[in-house]
């Protein structure tokens, strides 16, 4: 019985999220556009997330290289280390790890911010002032996360590759020119483009889930915490689901 109730709750929430997402296209994309708020959110969401993304990307590149080296040495293909690391970072690890870091930072902050606005009636105050909160709060944030995550991923990939270059040079000497030549020689458009396109969907999911959870927050300050937490959990799960779908689609299109 409890299982049925949980399943029904899951279906209800899925339907609610679908309706909430539908409003992004039916309400959020219509004029008048909140350009100033969009720029403000791009700054908050993109620019202010950059230091965290850069730090984690750098460490990720360094650690990945150090972890991969022993296996490659064992098979006598240590010279392929830049190629392996480059492919792994650009195609998969860079976009997914950046999106997960982004979900942790931005998903939770959007969930908490809108949740707090909801329980203190600030969203109702906007409504009664004739302002459309969905357009002002949700559409701008979702658009900002969708636009900023691909940019952060590209920057993060670059920093991660630099970390990998330093990792390669811990045990051997490789010039930066040679390292990046090997990396870029192994990459083509079918590696880069799908990886960047899927980050658009990751960003959309993080923004939409954060806003949905915040907008539907209840039970006072405790509810705000729950919104922030569940926004991170759900958007992280969605990132993996979208990643799985993206892999299947690129395979179907023969881009793998």
């Amino acid at each position: 019985m409890a299982l049925i109730v949980s399943f029904k709750k899951f279906l209800d929430e899925t339907g609610d999220i679908a309706r909430f997402t539908g409003r992004f296209f039916s309400v959020g994309m219509k004029p008048r556009y909140e350009n100033r708020e969009l720029l403000n959110q791009c700054y908050n969401i993109g620019y202010l997330s950059f230091p965290l993304v850069a730090l984690t990307a750098f460490i990720m590149g360094l650690v990945l290289t150090m972890q991969l080296r022993p296996s490659l040495v064992e098979y006598g293909v240590e010279s392929q280390l830049p190629v392996m690391v480059g492919l792994a970072i650009v195609r998969e690890i860079g976009p997914v790890i950046t999106a997960l870091i982004f979900a942790g930072k931005i998903g939770s902050s959007i969930g908490a911010e809108l949740g707090s606005m909801k329980v203190t009636e600030q969203i109702d105050a906007m409504t009664v002032s004739g302002i459309k909160p969905y357009k002002y709060l949700v559409a701008t944030r979702v658009l900002a996360t969708t636009l900023m995550l691909p940019l952060l991923t590209i920057l993060g990939d670059g920093i991660s590759l630099f970390g990998a270059y330093l990792g390669v040079n811990i045990r051997s000497v490789t010039s930066i020119d040679l390292f990046f030549l090997q990396v870029f020689k192994s990459l083509d458009f079918s590696d880069v483009l799908p990886a960047i396109i899927k980050t658009l969907f990751f960003g959309f999911a993080v923004g939409m889930v954060g806003c949905y959870k915040g907008f539907n927050s209840s039970k006072g300050t405790q509810g705000v915490g729950v919104s922030a937490n569940s926004a991170v959990v759900l958007s992280s799960v969605l990132i993996f689901i979208i990643d799985l779908l993206a892999v299947q689609i690129t395979e179907l299109l023969g881009l793998n």
Binding site: T120, E121, Q122, D124, A125, T127, V128, S129, G130, K132
Partner: protein, 249 residues
Amino acid sequence: MNMEAAASEPVIVIKNLVKGFGDKLILDGFNLTVEKGSNVVILGKSGSGKSVLIKCIIGLLAPDSGSIHVFKENIPGMNEDELDQARSKIGFLFQSNALYDSMTIRENLEFPLLRHWVDIEKEEVDRLVREALENVDLLHTLDMMPSELSGGMLKRVALARTMILRPEIILYDEPTTGLDPVTSREIENLILKLQKKNHTSSIIISHDMNCVKNTADVVVLLLEGKCYTKGTYEELEQSADQNIKQFFE
């Protein structure tokens, strides 16, 4: 108080309003008429549906049935754009003030202005913001954040924000709850002063009998989802009915 307005035209007419949540019926055939220029105070126990009623009037909640005519237009039958239009004539003072805590006081007041009057000049916005804050004696808080103000000051700023679009009707959700008696009296005086200045009509929800006494032209007792009785403060105070007496004891 504004008794001479009592005989003028109705601005809000509510008929057979029904609203429930799940199995619980909150409003069960509620009727009310608010005349232009009058202050109607809704009195009732906690959970009796007072806040639900004013949220239905402003379209934040959709009633299950019944009609709410504001300036002869039925609120429940309106679409989003029509509601926005109707809301420009109605102000709402939230119990929690609902000031935007990430904005300064100036931005809080500018925000509705800039969205309603798209072509308004910057100088005009500044003038209106200053005038609204002067009305509540808080001009010096212009560039402060809401977190820097006391409860009474927040209420006055919220009142200034409510008034800035020059609404013709104002709905007050427990305007003096949580305030000390002196500040409560200040808020009551402000409500009366601004009503007199702007010729507004009001619905005030309150538990505070001093506030009821000082602000009400008409007192309505909401009981079991219905308008149980209606009259002036003095009439209700003298009633022998136990349901009414308990509020005045």
